[in-house]
Symmetry: C2
Subunit: 205 residues, 2 copies
Amino acid sequence: MEKQSSRILEEAVEAFASLPGIGRKTALRMALHCIYQAPGKLEKFNTAIGKLGTDLQFCKKCHHISDNDICHVCNDSGRDHSLLCLVESVRDVLAIEETGHYRGVYHVLGGIISPIDGIGPEDLNISSLIHRCRQETIAEVIMAISPTIDGETTIYYLTKCLSEAGIDKVSILARGVAFGGELEYADELTLGRSIRARIPYQIAD
Amino acid sequence: MEKQSSRILEEAVEAFASLPGIGRKTALRMALHCIYQAPGKLEKFNTAIGKLGTDLQFCKKCHHISDNDICHVCNDSGRDHSLLCLVESVRDVLAIEETGHYRGVYHVLGGIISPIDGIGPEDLNISSLIHRCRQETIAEVIMAISPTIDGETTIYYLTKCLSEAGIDKVSILARGVAFGGELEYADELTLGRSIRARIPYQIAD
């Protein structure tokens, strides 16, 4: 799609097109939608987006996003604070929270160790993790980290760090074929490992 | 998808989800993307979008969007100002401009007559159209209006108005099966009319 002749429109199109998954055509549709909004509504839109940069904070404890110093998860006394789930990103916290299956707390690493991308342990929130493990009573750390090569490296590295910090119980997410997935579409590695790591079948009560 | 526990994030998600074609899941992805932007980039984004409401104008002549009082099309002396193309919206101007097949000028109606939606002739940019037709030398008016029931009504109404304003030559877009479209997917009405309105075949030189 060609550049817009209106500089103002073109800049708005470029702004929307900078969002993930948005091409210039969709960006134009969004910009044209905005043009016909009442001025107050566009201002409200801008305020909401702007606050992401100005008002949104990262929890001083777990690095999850938060409206305050400490996030709502860390502040929730009803949760199990001895169960710590290590995740790569804020997105992963939101995904796990959405499942409703976890009642412990989190620690957001802010990435995983990736030599190719030049991300080393010092770039991640590891020192604050070790600090937490020493200060708080943590019974178990769950590594909810993607089972990729970089992920495995990170898990290996962190397990060693945690062991030095006195954490003995470290677990990883269950691995195998996806629920509801067709076997023929599972990749070879997953399928092969799932056969070797097969589990006894139990009839549910 | 559930509401976000962070009020700031939730408001940003709602803002993005108010854009056309964006669901809450994509909106969340956009908001999370914004969180990790440098503050300056988010501000630039907001400025670009805000200008759509504050700085973008509508051309005083043709009602197309414009950075100035008069748009770049109306200001272009290289274009044929005696050929006027009537369109429903700014989007249609952009679509026709993209084709590169039109060198006349435009007039944006800002909608079409639609009794069901309560849009009457007085809600459209018709008085300025009549004014233009009386003041300027218009040789032909092209009705580039969707061939829907409301569109046909609008074309009928406008042709009568234009006739009173002294415009004799009014044309509509060619109608028939779409170029590159499979015949079997053309709707009955289009196909039937295309047979009746068949055109002599000429071998291109």
